[in-house]
Amino acid sequence: MRRRLTSIALLAATLALTAPAVAQVRAPDGAPNPTASSVNEEMLFKQDPKIHGRISIPNATAANLIQPQGREWREFREAWLPWIGGLVVLGMLAALGLFYFTRGRIRLEHSEESGRKILRFNSFERFSHWMTATCFIVLSLSGLNYIFGKRLLMPLIGPEAFATLAQYGKYAHIYLAWPFMLGVLFMLVLWIKDNIPGKIDWIWLKQGGGLLGDAHPSAGRFNAGQKMVFWMVVGFGLAMGATGIMMIFPFAVTDINGMQIMQVIHSLIGVVFIAGILAHIYIGSLGMEGAYDAMGSGEVDLAWAKVHHDLWVKEQQAKTASGPQLGRGQVPAE
């Protein structure tokens, strides 16, 4: 009897201890749930930000099963980026259009020096500029195709033509990136000495670069606006190159998370870069009479140079005696 009472007490104690465990393996509706206490996604993510499997094929990255950051990146790539890119690029085009129709083209001011030329950019400077510029245009268009192509172009030309175009656009983007990066390095070396910011740039900016009134603030070889373009091209160019190389060579430097971050940086800088260069193209061509000649023939009208880069002209006049700035068909800048 005593032994039987002891057995019953032990059974009751066992049931009391196991009852919570039994409750845990039931689903909210009371139905048995044998996998409720098994390893789940949430538990795995507490140990590591990604869930890996084990594979035997050479592609080790295929072992990555779930990476939640990829969903955030896809949300950025598919939902946010087209809007950001569209607003930045179209916003700049609208601003330039508004500026053109309100301020108009900045005309060349004629004086007794009109018609006389001064060398502004030598052949190698123009070569570096145009190599970078032509690559940039193709890189921009093929880059925008990554964002907008399937949304805007594919409905117009059809999936087959778009696939071919996108494939060649991708080749152009990957291969022309190299002469572009080389051009940026050339320009950095060529023009850094003339683009160091100084007090004169602050005065130029305070006067709105001559765009807001009739007065033309003094400037050296490059004014504050041109210096901003220079540093934008160098800074953004190098950043685009670095982030682009990390994507051209996947997994060489960083993992999938890192490459997604690189793509975000690359695309955001890219659209701002395009907007900035649109402003540069505008002011260097349509926006200002006489400005294109600097990169076209390399020679500018002396009257234009004296108005927009008076300090630089004085500097060149000081050098004129030894004649280093004189090229074919030029006259001394004095």
Binding site: P58, N59, A62, F127, W130, M131, I174, Y175, W178, P179
Partner: protein, 71 residues
């Protein structure tokens, strides 16, 4: 204009050189992402095989795909 044309030519030459240099480091997907045990044969330039035409008939019109795999 001369500087511009030389710049465009130089960009094309450098891009072509880059394409060859980068191509040296490229392998076909079936070489990079599968072991010899998983390769049924040399499938050509992609995993669907060299005789792939890409012409897939709709299921309602034809019972089988026109395109054939490499092996």
């Amino acid at each position: 204009m001369k500087a511009f044309l030389v710049a465009v030519a130089a960009a094309l030459v450098l891009a072509t050189a880059a394409s060859f240099l980068l191509g040296e480091n490229q392998r076909f997907a079936y070489q990079a992402f599968a072991t010899s045990g998983a390769r049924v044969s040399d499938p050509g330039t992609n995993l669907v095989g060299p005789r792939w035409t890409g012409d897939i008939k709709e299921p309602g019109k034809a019972g089988h795909h026109k395109a054939e795999a490499g092996s």
